[in-house]
Symmetry: C2
Subunit: 289 residues, 2 copies
Amino acid sequence: MTLYGSIEAGGTKFVLGVGDGSKLVQRYRFDTTTPDAAVSEIVAFFKQYELAGIGIGAFGPVDVNPASPKYGTILNTPKVGWQNFDLLGALKAQLNVPMKITTDVNVACYGEWQEGAAKGKQNVIYLTVGTGIGAGVINQGHFFLGRAHTEVGHIFLQKHPDDHYEGHCPYHGDNCAEGLAAGPAIQGRFPAGAASLAEDDPFWAIEADYIAQLCLDLTLSLAPDVIIVGGGVSKQTQLFPLIRQAFAAKLNGYVDVPALNDYIVPVALGDNSGVTGALLLAEEAAREA
Amino acid sequence: MTLYGSIEAGGTKFVLGVGDGSKLVQRYRFDTTTPDAAVSEIVAFFKQYELAGIGIGAFGPVDVNPASPKYGTILNTPKVGWQNFDLLGALKAQLNVPMKITTDVNVACYGEWQEGAAKGKQNVIYLTVGTGIGAGVINQGHFFLGRAHTEVGHIFLQKHPDDHYEGHCPYHGDNCAEGLAAGPAIQGRFPAGAASLAEDDPFWAIEADYIAQLCLDLTLSLAPDVIIVGGGVSKQTQLFPLIRQAFAAKLNGYVDVPALNDYIVPVALGDNSGVTGALLLAEEAAREA
């Protein structure tokens, strides 16, 4: 039995895992405070095991270019104390294990690609709509990377005519997807949260419109084979038919896309897309070491 | 002296070139009518020369995946007679010369990357704003390709509050970039065309706003090192400061981008981005043959 480690480094919590292959056998969570505290927790937890590799999915912005001297460094984040913190370097200094790091959404994308809803595809988008909005992108079988990783949650959207919410994004107000459609923006409209809304509440058509607009923009700019929608908001499964319907109306046949039931789909791995992908990334790190 | 051939296959005209390396020595144009007529013109013109390779930039949608059995085939175009026409196959049947084909905007992107405004960059977008709107994309030094090439001209934009134009896109009305900001949409507002407008006409701020929105979306989804803006509308050089200003206001510091004077830039090769890129692609075809 070969053990691998996974780290899901989030802005509010860290989730560590130990897996036999991609099968999780142990999990440990702690709240995100300072980088030093996080590193201590991670090192203490993983030192209990003999690991062949560690895969990390981190909140961004983070340098995920293996060729960069700053690979594994958290970049210009508003998160106090984390700016320019070399997370990968700090872990490598204390754990003698091969490691790879990418974004939190990229590991989820990787998990869904290898073992979930995107098996056998080459161009995959994992779109999370939860506390924030973001996307992991696999293009021709590799993580997409330009000058940096994508930040698609802040793409500007057309505001729905029936929506009078002032928006939640500190940078873009009600202009961007995250400001209009992420969990906190839903809670901004309905303080009791999404769970308090009936399945047929008319708000879901508005939410679906926003997600459909974002899927449209991603279709036109990244041309994926499939868009997997995950994150807390996507647990409202009544959204999917509404998203597909709004997407079809907007695209209006301009480009060919796969049948929409196979194109805009929910995650297949539930809450485990990220940990699965991080464990697979750990295996990759071990193979390449 | 080694001669190469270039084909810019457009919806209204074809432009053929013969170059000594990437230096154009002969050019020939004809109107786009039927596929058969185009192939006859191309074959007759190129048979006058001993060519080492031919590079083709074609209007889309076109299959530009070298691994695809339909590589070089015009796909689902509204252009009568051209649907599913195997352009590359038809040319190969009559010209015994190594050939490569990509989109018209990709060859322009390639030209600007190798010899123009994007020298030394790895992630390049060439955005044309002319008769239509589209982008050529080079990612990590290779043409970006997902399930298909991008179609960014149809990304949805927020309509400017001072703009009351009904939009020009037959698919998306006033919702998409092309419907709001391409040449025909300008002419729809001002029948005498863009050239009739003063440099300080307030419309240019609206046009700049649309191009800035598109640059913002592309920044967030494709993370380029540079966005080169070409096409007829970009000859209005007063647009560039307005685009950069609107872009900065919208992005609002959310992600780091290069200094805007180096990030959103005009073409360096004038009207020759496409032919330069096609000749370079011809060289590449010859090298790989």
